[in-house]
């Protein structure tokens, strides 16, 4: 039975990764299980310099999901390189850094640094809905995505995956921009922009008013978008959005994802990601699948 996948040039022992912002830099989860069991780890969104993040309240539970407006609080790439990367490198798993910036220049400068680090790839975050500058401001047009991705491509030799926002009219055209700019892969979906109002206070519950919706509540939207993107581009797809077990992961792979990420599922159970690895293997046994790559994109439409 083969579970090994090649995501945009990144070799992984299985298709299960953990989504940016839901796994920190791995340390906390290493108390629960051996991180080497994962195909890959996508780090917390990391910038050139430390970011403070947004005012609290930053999170709120919703039906089968949650809203967050963390605002990409992170310690900066220098701190990561010195403190977190050596720790992560102790494990036999792919390390992919989620890269964030407020301007094209910041993305480029950051990726110059990332190009020198011992990492397996970069996930360019053009999709966080919770910061005013950068990220989703670039990520919601074909031109914006193509421009940032092209500039980053010039300085980054490592595998480059671009993470897309679902808060757009035509996700396939945005994915096309990633491919046209020469990136190696595309990941989706980031969170859906949402809002929750406290009806007694007549105010939004989040200090930032709006936040990104994640969790099983968004899974059908994510599956649909992964399918559309996989149909539109020839580069590999990293699929995510509400995956909490092996069956959910298989659904994304049938829709066209070459690998998947566990996001908010990490919050409800620290073992969700490793349990998903086991769940995928169980599905393969049950359906006598020799190679996990054989099921990618095999959904038959009605």
């Amino acid at each position: 039975m083969n579970t090994e996948v090649n995501l945009a040039g990144i070799k992984m022992k299985n298709p299960v990764t953990v989504a940016s912002g839901t796994f920190g830099y791995g340390r906390e989860f290493s108390n629960f299980f051996d991180l080497s069991k994962l195909g890959g780890i996508i780090t917390k969104g990391t910038a050139l310099k430390p970011w403070s993040g947004n005012k609290p309240s930053r999170v709120y539970e919703t039906a089968s999901g949650m809203l967050n407006s963390i605002g990409l609080q992170n310690p900066g790439i220098e701190y990561f390189a010195q403190n977190d990367l050596p720790f992560l490198r102790k494990f036999d798993t792919a390390i992919i850094v989620n890269a964030i910036g407020k301007s094209i220049e910041e993305y480029v400068e950051l990726c110059k640094v990332l190009n020198t680090l011992d990492i397996d790839g970069v996930e360019l975050n053009l999709s966080c809905p919770n910061v005013k500058a950068g990220c989703m401001a670039f990520g919601n047009t074909y031109e914006g995505v193509k421009q940032v991705t092209s500039e980053v491509r010039k300085v980054l030799d490592k595998p480059l995956i671009v993470k897309l926002t679902p808060n757009v009219t035509d996700i396939a055209s945005i994915a096309k921009a990633v491919e046209d700019a020469g990136a190696d892969g595309v990941s989706l979906i980031n969170t859906l922009l949402g809002m929750k109002i406290d009806i007694d206070k007549r105010r939004p519950v989040l200090a930032n008013n709006t936040g990104g919706l994640s969790g099983p509540a968004i899974r059908p939207v994510a599956v649909r978008m992964v399918y559309q993107v996989a149909q539109a581009v020839n580069i590999p797809v990293l699929g995510m959005g509400g995956i909490v077990n092996g069956d959910d992961a298989i659904e994304f792979m049938l829709a066209g994802a070459n690998a998947i990420s566990i996001g908010a599922g990490n919050f409800i159970n620290p073992y969700t990601s490793v349990d998903t690895v086991a769940g995928i293997e169980n599905y393969m046994k049950k359906h006598q699948i020799e190679d996990i790559n054989d099921i990618v994109g095999t959904v038959e439409m009605n």
């Binding site: 839901t22 920190g24 108390n31 609290p56 409800i268």
Partner: protein, 263 residues
Amino acid sequence: MSELVFAELVKKEQLKPDIFKFSVKAPSIVKEAKPGNFIEIRVTDQLDPFLRRPISIYNLDRENGILEFIFQVKGKGTELLAKREEGKTIDIVGPIGYGTFKYDDYENIAIIGGGIGVFPLYELAKCAKADYKNVTTYLGFRSKDFVVLEEEFAKVSDELILTTDDGSYAEKGFAINYLEKDIEEGKVDAIYACGPLPMLKAVQKLALEKEIPCQISLEEKMACGLGVCLGCAVKTAKSPKDAPEYWHVCKAGPVFNAKDVEI
């Protein structure tokens, strides 16, 4: 270090119509836990309610590996939890938080709590008393109907001062007024507080003015409880120069030095 356990609910008591005390068998968590720590409970194996519920630890019975927590039914999640029957298991991650109550350096300990914020103070009072500290506990409640754990706190305090806002039981007024009086009489070396935000703000202000070491236990809306989502942010006071702008309840907390946070 946190771990995940499926702990048996060995005893369930209803203290008030909406307040429950659960005793669970969780020896590994009990062994690691310190006064001030909390746990995160998954209230269902379904996906709604989605997140775990952070709940403070009330008592650690180290001899028998029993962990006790008390919670108020506030919404869908705690409502589900309250229905759990004795003999069933509860999915718990804990103990959580590096910021815990520290009293070793002080002799005269003042513990002040309000409403349902009194629960995490019991283990602190119990340990401090067992360590031969002079423990004075000040508990404030809205009215007679809200008073809980009076006998329990009396046993682990050298002196217990109980107040109700409306005077329907014990002393009328706010617990902090009694604390302030004792501070003025030089009877307080350190203060430990948990309760509603206005009370915590008043205690913080008082402690800073009187220059008395003070620790406060905070809460904030939380998702992971593991230190990764960075949801439960608390604003850092300006004084620690190199500190980041925000700390997190589930990591640096839930207990903070009053001088280190802006609340």
